[in-house]
């Protein structure tokens, strides 16, 4: 099966060209096959979010080659990258990041709006997605009227709006209690099992990481562990 993420010698440096140039990622090689549920773990500051930003087309690698779903990312300009984020990536953040003063429904519609999907279709899809995360009854609520767990479910629905190739979740349960976090994890499992979504999950919680197919461990910008957990993934 074709890898959906294929990274080769990915280097990320900050303050390039200045005396205090800082290399954060030191040449990572990662391949993620389609449909895999991968977790990335590692100490704080090890470079997980930096890697995630590159995977999610929010940032560019300093060196190395990154192919996302057949697209060579180093060759894309800014507007192409925003299109890729829009169609191929679904972000889920630790702090939810719903748009304020905008209903749950409208939040879910937003990526489709930017994709130019027509209003009728948008509403239909948004309804389905809200149903999937069991938030139909809150569709007209504003973010400030929702609990953290509810916000995160809306955020997952939003991430799924344009049926992306990958869901990228950076500590999605980090701001939730364990029970609510469990609920959110269950949604990811559901997306993975029922829809075969490729999911990359960053987490500090080893138990949650153990639930995924594969655990990549980062330390100071290097991959120090890459372990397949589940048998079904191992079978590939």
């Amino acid at each position: 099966m074709n890898p959906i993420i294929s990274m080769n010698g990915i280097v990320k440096s900050f303050y390039i060209g200045t005396p205090n140039e800082l290399e954060i990622l030191h040449g990572l090689n990662i391949e993620v096959p389609e449909g895999q549920f991968v977790s990335i773990v590692g100490a704080s500051g090890s470079g997980k979010s930096t890697l995630m930003n590159i995977i999610g087309a929010l940032d560019r690698q300093t060196a190395g080659r990154y192919i996302l779903d057949g697209i060579d990312m180093s060759k894309q300009d800014d507007s192409a990258l925003s299109g890729i984020r829009n169609k191929k990536i679904g972000f889920v953040f630790q702090t939810f990041n719903l748009i304020a003063r905008t209903s749950a429904m409208k939040n879910v519609e937003l990526p489709m709006l930017y994709a130019g999907v027509r209003s009728k279709e948008r509403t239909k899809r948004a309804k389905e997605l809200l149903e999937m995360v069991e938030m139909s009854d809150r569709s007209s609520h504003m973010p400030n009227e929702l609990s953290g767990g509810q916000k995160q479910r809306i955020a997952i629905a939003r991430a799924m709006a344009n049926d992306p190739a990958i869901i990228l979740a950076d500590e999605p349960t980090g701001a939730l209690d364990s029970k609510t976090g469990r609920l959110v994890m269950d949604i990811f499992h559901k997306l993975h099992k029922e829809q075969g979504k490729t999911i990359v999950l960053i987490t500090h919680n080893p138990e949650l990481a153990e639930e995924t197919d594969r655990i990549i461990t980062l330390s100071d910008g290097n991959i120090v562990g890459d372990r397949v957990v589940s048998e079904e993934a191992a079978a590939e």
Partner: protein
């Protein structure tokens, strides 16, 4: 992202900060409303002024009056300096082909009369037959002062429709009645030979109406009769007007009349001569004054629009900063830079448009309040409204562009990390 969504979004964010939005709009409101107010009042003024101008003969009107010579040795007028009947008659004869009507007023005296235990004030004007052309009145019953009245120093008068209604019941009834009044301590009985009414709309009639619903006090009598009342033998004048025939060049006519009078009667006068003014030059003076006024107000409006625009820019920069994280999220969700840019430009345009709309309504209101005070209503031209709307949109785009562009160019990661 489409326009409708952007507008809804902009309105929602304005609603969340109502007070701030209104304060931001203030400059725009003041600027636009003063532009509209100028336009409204300009229309009122222009209509009224043109009304008067045309009723008095428009560009066919020429006025002559005495004035100080450049090398005058005194700075006051003496009786011997005044324009005499002889001069006017001589001009009238010499330039007969060019002249339509000459109008003269020998001044006025105030008078009073008793009517049903009421003291009524009158203003008695001594005029010639041609004066009706200058007085913006029209005879609706009987006749005006005639040459014969002048020659005979006739005890006749022309009163207003309102006076006729009040004193005699109707203009028709008034004819032939005797008007008794007291002037300078002496009682006079004049026969009413005619009734006039003001024939103007707009500013003048408004002013006439303001003086009293049921009374306007001008009574016209022959100037010779007025002179007799004043104990003067020969009437003399500070000024007189000539309405020239169509096709006569006003400027040329006026200067030759002036030269004629000055050569003949004022050559030896050490300080005084006759000076003329044509309707056109009066008009251009008037429009010059109005032009200056509206330029001054326009400059003020322009400055307040500029200040307003800068205020909008400022608030948009604040809004961009406040919503940095939101911008980051939108970018992460795939918003192209253009969508972010247009979102903020639309927001700024909407602030300006709402401000502009309030300004237009306020401007029309203020303009018409001023209009009510001077007694006539007007609306600004459709053009000035279109201009105001276009202008406020342009301000929105112009001053919104920089903040919007800044938002569009934000680095998504930086924006997402913004606390």
């Amino acid at each position: 992202m489409n326009l409708g969504e952007n507008i809804k979004l902009a309105l929602a964010s304005l609603k969340a900060n109502k007070m701030r939005a209104v304060l931001t709009m203030l400059g725009i409101i003041i600027g636009i409303s003063s532009v509209i107010m100028i336009a409204t009042m300009g229309n009122i003024m222009e209509n009224s002024v043109m009304d008067i101008f045309n009723s008095q003969g428009g560009s066919n009107l020429v006025g002559f009056q005495i004035t100080m010579k450049r090398d005058a040795v005194r700075n006051y007028y003496m009786d011997t300096d005044l324009i005499t009947e002889e001069m006017v008659e001589s001009v009238n004869e010499r330039f007969a082909d060019d002249i339509d009507v000459v109008s003269m007023s020998g001044g006025s005296e105030s008078a009073s009369m008793r009517f049903h235990r009421e003291d009524l004030d009158l203003m008695v004007y001594g005029v010639n037959p041609g004066y009706i052309r200058q007085s913006m009145t029209e005879v609706i019953a009987g006749r005006y002062i005639s040459e014969k009245d002048l020659d005979k120093r006739g005890s006749v008068c022309v009163i207003s429709d309102k006076q006729a209604n009040k004193l005699y019941g109707s203009p028709r009834e008034a004819l032939g009645k005797t008007l008794s009044f007291n002037c300078m301590g002496t009682g006079y009985d004049l026969t009413v030979v005619g009734v006039y009414e003001y024939k103007l709309n707009g500013l003048m009639s408004a002013m006439v109406n303001m003086m009293g619903e049921d009374w306007n006090n001008e009574v016209y009598i022959p100037y010779t009769t007025l002179a007799k009342m004043e104990g003067i033998n020969e009437s003399s004048f500070f000024y007189f007007y000539i309405n020239i025939n169509n096709g006569v060049n006003a400027e040329k006519f006026a200067s030759s009349v002036r030269d004629y009078i000055n050569n003949r009667w004022y050559r030896d006068n050490d300080s005084i001569e006759v000076w003329y003014q044509t309707g056109e030059s009066q008009m251009s003076m008037m429009s010059e004054v109005m032009g200056i006024i509206s330029t001054v107000i326009s400059v003020i409006a322009g400055i307040s629009l500029l200040v307003g625009g800068i205020g909008v820019m400022n608030i948009m920069l604040v809004s961009v900063t406040e919503r940095t994280r939101e911008i980051g999220v939108r970018k992460a969700l795939g918003a192209p830079n253009g969508a972010i840019r247009s979102q903020f430009i639309i927001e700024s345009v909407i602030i300006c448009l709402i401000g502009g709309a309030i300004g237009i309504v306020l401007g029309i209101l203020l303009g018409n309040i001023a209009g009510v005070i001077i007694g006539t209503m007007a609306s600004p031209s459709a053009g000035s409204i279109v201009l105001a709307v276009t202008f406020s949109m342009a301000i929105g785009v112009f001053f919104g562009y920089y903040p919007a562009n800044r938002a569009a160019k934000l680095d998504p990661i930086e924006a997402l990390r913004y606390e």
